[in-house]
């Protein structure tokens, strides 16, 4: 009998030589799973992991992101005099948003930034939790209900001079227009005193939209079922915001949302037009209040090739649908007949 046969016969052996059977009448205890909010991500901020992450971000993620999503970065002058910790609050349309944002941040922020990621999505399996912690410095955030431990962890990291990327919508847009912002970023800013930098990410949904299992190929998934599609994107930073004297989290949250909205208008038009546009309900961030097909229609063509759109009527949203017409920051090329 060789060693393998001996091991096999041992495996077949009856208890006590073999493993015991579990009595049918006794419930098996749930295996201890340290995933989700309970995942221990401390290791991902130690030097070996930071070194690996920096190497991956700079040598793999950054070139890949540049390949599929060549980015125009605007407003980065607002970051010039900022010191950590900073909270970056961005709209969220695609899984591409996080790597894009991280790789376009100035180096002094890039390698000392954690990303708030949905605990139920990115941390539901040990391997996923480890992967995202290592490559993106993700930390689990509870998005379906208010959870103090998520906020405590984030506040603790901010106190340790880590920057935080947070998507206040709580998930990627299902239809192309931003969802209402939640108050997490404002709350953390009030609690820690860290400034909030509003960020508008434009165009990532064209490359990798959210897939909706209910409507395969649908729910505004322009690119559904056809993998990654290369497109140009814009990352627009706004001036940092801090809570005003006596301002509560709810009001500050609204101010953050408006700041991102302003950036959206600015990407669509120019700095001056964005500021002049009245708040008439045709939101450049949240889209028109209309039936679903008209909201989808107002997004404009996926490739932005057609010249003029008709909904909503305000000038900033009209231009937003033709982003390719942009010739430079804040300028629109005139198009004959339109």
């Amino acid at each position: 009998m060789n060693v393998n046969e001996a091991m096999r016969s041992l495996g077949r052996a009856r208890f006590p030589l073999g493993a015991p059977d579990w009595p049918a009448g006794v419930d098996r205890p749930a295996p201890e799973r340290k995933v989700g909010l309970d995942y221990d991500h401390e290791w991902s901020r130690r030097y070996p992991a930071r070194l690996v992450r920096a190497a991956i971000l700079d040598n793999v993620t950054r070139p890949l992101a540049h390949l599929v999503a060549p980015a125009t970065i605007r407003g980065d002058e607002h970051l010039r005099h900022l010191e950590a910790p900073v909270i970056f609050a961005a709209n969220h349309a695609s899984h591409l948003d996080t790597p894009l944002l991280l790789t376009t941040l100035p180096v002094r922020f890039r390698h000392r930034t954690v990303v708030g990621a949905a605990a139920d999505y990115f941390f539901d399996r040990p391997w996923k939790a480890a992967l995202w912690s290592l490559t993106l410095a993700a930390i689990p955030i509870e998005r379906s209900r208010v959870n103090r431990s998520s906020a405590d962890v984030a506040a603790e990291l901010l106190a340790k001079k880590w920057n935080l990327v947070i998507f206040p919508e709580g998930g990627r847009t299902p239809d192309g227009w931003a969802q209402a912002f939640r108050g997490g970023a404002a709350y953390l800013a009030l609690r820690t005193g860290a400034p909030v930098v509003p960020v508008y990410l434009h165009g990532t949904r064209r490359i990798l939209p959210k897939h909706d299992d209910q409507h395969p190929g649908g729910s505004g998934t322009e690119n559904a079922g056809r993998g990654l599609r290369r497109a140009e994107v814009t990352v627009m930073y706004g001036p940092p915001l801090s809570p005003a004297e006596g301002e509560n989290a709810r009001r500050f949250g609204v101010r953050i949302e408006r700041a991102v909205e302003l950036l959206a208008r600015e990407v669509a038009t120019d700095w001056w037009t964005a500021r002049r546009a009245s708040d008439d309900g045709d939101s450049a961030l949240h889209g028109p209040e209309a039936v679903p097909w008209r909201r989808a229609w107002a997004l404009g063509p996926p490739d932005g090739t057609r010249e003029e759109r008709s909904w909503p009527a305000s000038p900033f949203t009209r231009a937003k649908r033709s982003p390719r017409r942009r010739t430079g920051p804040g300028r629109l090329r005139s198009t004959s007949g339109s």
């Binding site: 729910s219 989808a296 229609w297 996926p302 909904w311």
Partner: protein, 529 residues
């Protein structure tokens, strides 16, 4: 250079061999001296600004119709119907004509504040379109805006809940069409008139109809009296559709018809030789032909089919018109004939044709023997106005492999039709009486039609009825290169070489026959004087 008109060549000793399609492949055949070959007119120039032309058409409608923008208002119910995957052939390169038109219509609807908009693929008893086909026809933007919300639908001729009976025509024909379309404040129909039989009242009266309504004109008697389908005044099929269309209008259904016509730019540049006259083939054309023909002969059928069905035609818009149905269609016909018309003097004893890999009913699928018959005898035979190209009692020789292969997903009832009906009879009238109803009402076929991508159970009968006029007119049908068993099953004669086929034809038409070859595709319409 101005596109050259169609041309009839008389074959002499110096004429090079003539290109014949044979399914997923082609060959060169030497025709007897004195034969005539009809070449299609060259593709007309495309509209320089198609979107501008569409906008102009919508705002300057023909006939008794207001501009589209004046017909749209908030709170209204708008339904946009469009031709299905059977048009155009081959499918055109993006953007499809339907996409261009529908985007403009939707822009106008959004501007007017119309919320209740539904899109319907007007597919009658055809198979439902797949998602990639819908995306190709409508564009991603339209698909994304409507499909996820259930607002992009496909006509279901077997859904009693969504059909409405509008009445009977003076000839007692039931008019039953899609309820959503019929009860809308405005029905916009977006058509592609690839040939002269498309469009007009046929768009709504056929595309959105039920079996109960369709059977009044899709039957052997009507088809036999459609001489030809391409000549509406002489087509019983169209006369019936026009009666129904007028009843639909009288019932209060407001139809805003948008018709587009395409040029005959049928094949991409790598297959340019397919639409050139053989004696004008360049060195590159000859090399491409030789390499392609040899490669296709050695390629497994399935792969060859995939290659051909991936071809997108560089068709371009030659006209777009909108407004009242009959006024619009009249203008479309002018454009179609301007592109496709060829004057031909007199008939011949024999007509030859090479049948390509595609017909309206096998897009992305297999061309089974019944569809081969339909393409040759139903479509190509009917590409005439005045008189058929072949004299009564003459012979039609068509080249196609005619393999008894079927697509079980798209054409399930065709398999049973081939095995059960054609083994008993090839007479359209007899099969109509004996078998049609059982196929048309078979619950399994209906289920597959409604939930899968199957043609309706009755569809193979209709394909055979399309042949009825030709079957009655011709003395013999010879299939060159066809599978002998399949060809005989359909009542035709198989031949392995052109020489054999001509010898067989002489048994019917005499020892010194006249011969005309229809050099299609590209499509042409013979105006036989």
């Amino acid at each position: 250079m101005t596109p050259r008109p169609g041309f009839v060549l008389e074959v002499d000793g110096s004429t090079p061999p003539t290109l014949f399609w044979k399914g997923e492949g082609f060959t060169l055949e030497r025709l007897p001296e004195g034969s005539r070959v009809i070449y299609a007119p060259e593709p007309l120039d495309a509209l320089k600004d198609p979107v501008g032309a569409i906008r102009h058409a919508l705002e300057h409608p023909l006939g008794d119709s207001a501009p589209l923008s004046a017909l749209l208002r908030p709170g209204m119910k708008l339904t946009i119907c469009f031709d299905d995957v059977s048009l155009p052939l081959p499918p055109m390169e993006a953007p499809d004509a339907r996409q261009m038109v529908i985007e403009e219509v939707l822009d106008a609807a959004a501007t007017a504040g119309v919320d209740d908009v539904v899109l319907i693929a007007a597919l009658a008893l055809h198979r439902r379109m797949t998602e990639p086909e819908l995306r190709h026809a409508l564009g991603d933007r339209v698909y994304e805006a409507f499909a996820p919300h259930g607002l992009l639908t496909q006509h279901d001729a077997e859904d009693p809940e969504n059909l409405v009976h509008l009445g009977k025509t003076s000839e007692g024909e039931d008019v039953e069409i899609n309820k959503r379309a019929a009860t809308s404040d405005l029905l916009v129909y977006v058509n592609i008139s690839l040939v002269a039989m498309d469009g007009g009242h046929k768009s709504v009266a056929t595309g959105l109809a039920s079996y109960k309504s369709l059977r009044h004109h899709h039957n052997p008697t009507t088809m036999r009296h459609s001489k030809s389908f391409m000549d509406a005044p002489s087509s019983a099929l169209h006369t019936s559709n026009w009666r129904m269309g007028r009843l639909i209008a009288d019932s209060g259904v407001k139809v805003f018809q948008i018709e587009t016509t395409l040029n005959t730019d049928t094949f991409p540049s790598q297959f340019a030789f397919l639409q050139r006259r053989e004696w004008e083939w360049t060195l590159r054309d000859r090399a491409t032909y030789t390499a392609t023909a040899a490669a296709l002969d050695a390629t497994p059928g399935r792969l060859a089919r995939q290659i051909f069905h991936s071809i997108k035609a560089p068709h371009a818009l030659t006209s777009v018109q909108a407004g009242e149905v009959e006024a619009v269609h009249e203008q479309s016909l002018v454009s179609v004939w301007r592109q496709q018309g060829v004057v031909v003097e007199g008939q011949s004893d024999i007509v030859t044709m090479g049948l390509p890999y595609i017909c309206p009913y096998n897009v992305n699928s297999i061309m089974n023997p019944i569809l081969v018959a339909c393409l040759g005898l139903g479509y190509f035979f009917n590409l005439y106005r005045g008189k058929p190209l072949v004299r009564e009692g003459g012979v039609l020789i068509m080249q196609h492999p005619t393999k008894p292969d079927f697509d079980p997903a798209f054409h399930p009832s065709y398999i049973d039709f081939y095995e059960q009906v054609l083994t008993e009879t090839t007479d359209p009238t007899e099969m109509h009486k004996l078998y049609e109803e059982s196929f048309a009402t078979d619950p399994w076929y209906i289920h597959l039609y409604r939930t899968g991508h199957a043609y309706h159970g009755v569809h193979p009968f209709y394909m055979w009825y399309w042949c009825a006029h030709a079957l009655e007119h011709l003395g013999r049908v010879i299939v060159l290169g066809g599978d002998p068993k399949a060809v005989r099953r359909m009542g035709f004669s198989p031949a392995s070489t052109m020489a054999d086929a001509l010898e067989m034809a002489k048994d019917v038409v005499g020892p010194s026959p006249t011969l005309t070859h229809l050099h299609a595709p590209p499509i042409m319409l013979a105006d036989v004087q």
